[in-house]
Every structure is written in C-alpha cells, then in structure tokens.
C-alpha cells in the first residue's frame, strides 16, 4: 500500500509492474486514471491548478487506502495524486487495486475514487479565455461516497 502526492506525471505500466511483479497470487488489477478535460460548462480551459493541504494529504490518502484494505481482500493498493498546474489531457490521479478476483479489485477502486473525490484535501481551479474559477464540489460525488457507509 503506497501513496504519493507529487507534481510530476506517472507511468501506469511501471506502477502496475511494481504492484504485481512479486506476487503470483494476483488475478485482477483495476486502474483508474483521471484526466483533465478541456471542455467545462464555462468553456474550454487552458489550465487546471490543483491546490492541496500538504500536511494532511498523504495522511488522508493513507487512511482512505487503509479503509479499502480493511473492506476488501486486496493484494495491493497504489494511489498517486498530482498537484500544481495541469493542462487538458494531463493525468491527475492514479488508483490501482490488485486482488485474487475481479470483484474486489473493481469495488475497491470505485470506493477509493469516491473517497478521493470528497475526502482528500485537494481543490481545483480552472482557467480559460472566459476567466477562472474554483471547481464546485458535486452533489453526485457526496452521494457516491455515502453509498459505502
């Protein structure tokens, strides 16, 4: 179980190899990659700035990963979340889950993403020709998180 908060990009194939290469009892690996979308309701964006709470972020991600490991029989979890300025098409977040069978890997990855969206101290600001604005939290994300409790 490893958690990183970083400005640099990540290599999903290398991360997956690191998670699985020492363990031949893994039958299923699920990944989620979040990307910066160019079109928003306000118009096309040029940059997305991700602010975070440095003292709290790694602890919050670790707690979320621990919860997933307590709920599902996982053989591995990896979370990478970027911060700083990003651009359309850039990767924002990677979640990897490894398990014997696919159901646990899928469910745990969904759980991790739902919790990341509402419990990890990151805030997005989008900027384009139309101006810039902080991204509002989505009610849907709260509902998605609530379904696990």
């Amino acid at each position: 179980m490893t958690v990183s908060v970083q400005t640099q990009d990540f290599d999903i194939a290398a991360e997956m190899d690191a998670l699985t290469s020492a363990n031949r009892d893994i039958g299923a690996v699920v990944s989620f990659t979040g990307l910066v979308r160019e079109m928003t309701e306000a118009g096309a964006i040029q940059t997305m700035e991700l602010e975070h709470y440095p003292g709290m972020t790694v602890a919050a991600l670790t707690e979320i990963a621990d919860q997933a490991c307590a709920r599902w029989p996982l053989q591995g979890v990896r979370i990478i979340h970027r911060y700083g300025p990003l651009h359309p098409g850039d990767r924002i977040v990677l979640v990897l889950t490894a398990s014997r069978h696919r159901q646990a890997a899928f469910e745990a990855a969904e759980f991790l993403m739902d919790y990341l969206k509402t419990r990890a101290p990151f805030w997005k600001r989008e900027a384009g020709a139309h101006g810039s604005a902080w991204v509002d939290a989505r009610e849907d994300d709260d509902k998605a998180t609530a379904r696990w409790s």
Binding site: Y53, M56, H81, K117, A120, K124, R125, V135, A137
Partner: protein, 82 residues
C-alpha cells in the same frame, strides 16, 4: 494557534497561513464567529458556513470540536480531488 486557509477561503482571508489568537472561543464554531466579528475578510470567508470544512491538527472535525490543545486549524471548502 496556526490557521491555514485553502482555495477561495485563502483568497477571501488574504493569506494561506497565519497565527491567530482564539480569544474567548472554545470551539471551532465559536472561533469562526469570533474571527468574523473581528474583521470583514473573515466575515466574507465564513459567510456561508455550510460551504466551510475544518481540520484540526490535520484531521477533519465538526464545528462543535473543542479548541483546547489545538496547534493547527485548517479552513477550506468541500474537497474536489480525484
């Protein structure tokens, strides 16, 4: 006590980090009221309290959380990570 502000709360307060004196406040809610009375920039930041989340010593807490022994308090809007 060290206070940290993020996202638009940081913008409204005008700083990301400062030392604050809680005065007579004994809970998070009382501190928010106290600061809002002291200066307009706090009143603006905390105007919609339903949009404010609080972490005490880097753990999320409710507004009735006590301030006793707290070294760091963070104020921010709902998170938008992932």
């Amino acid at each position: 006590m060290q206070a940290l502000y993020f996202s638009w709360l940081r913008e409204r307060v005008g700083t990301g980090s400062e030392q604050i004196d809680p005065g007579p406040a004994t809970t998070v809610a009382e501190l928010i009221r106290e600061l809002s009375l002291r200066e307009e920039r706090y009143a603006a930041a905390f105007a919609d309290i339903s949009a404010v989340r609080v972490a005490v010593d880097q753990k999320m807490v409710d507004l009735d959380h006590p301030l006793k022994g707290v070294r760091e308090i963070g104020f921010f809007p709902p998170m938008t990570g992932g």
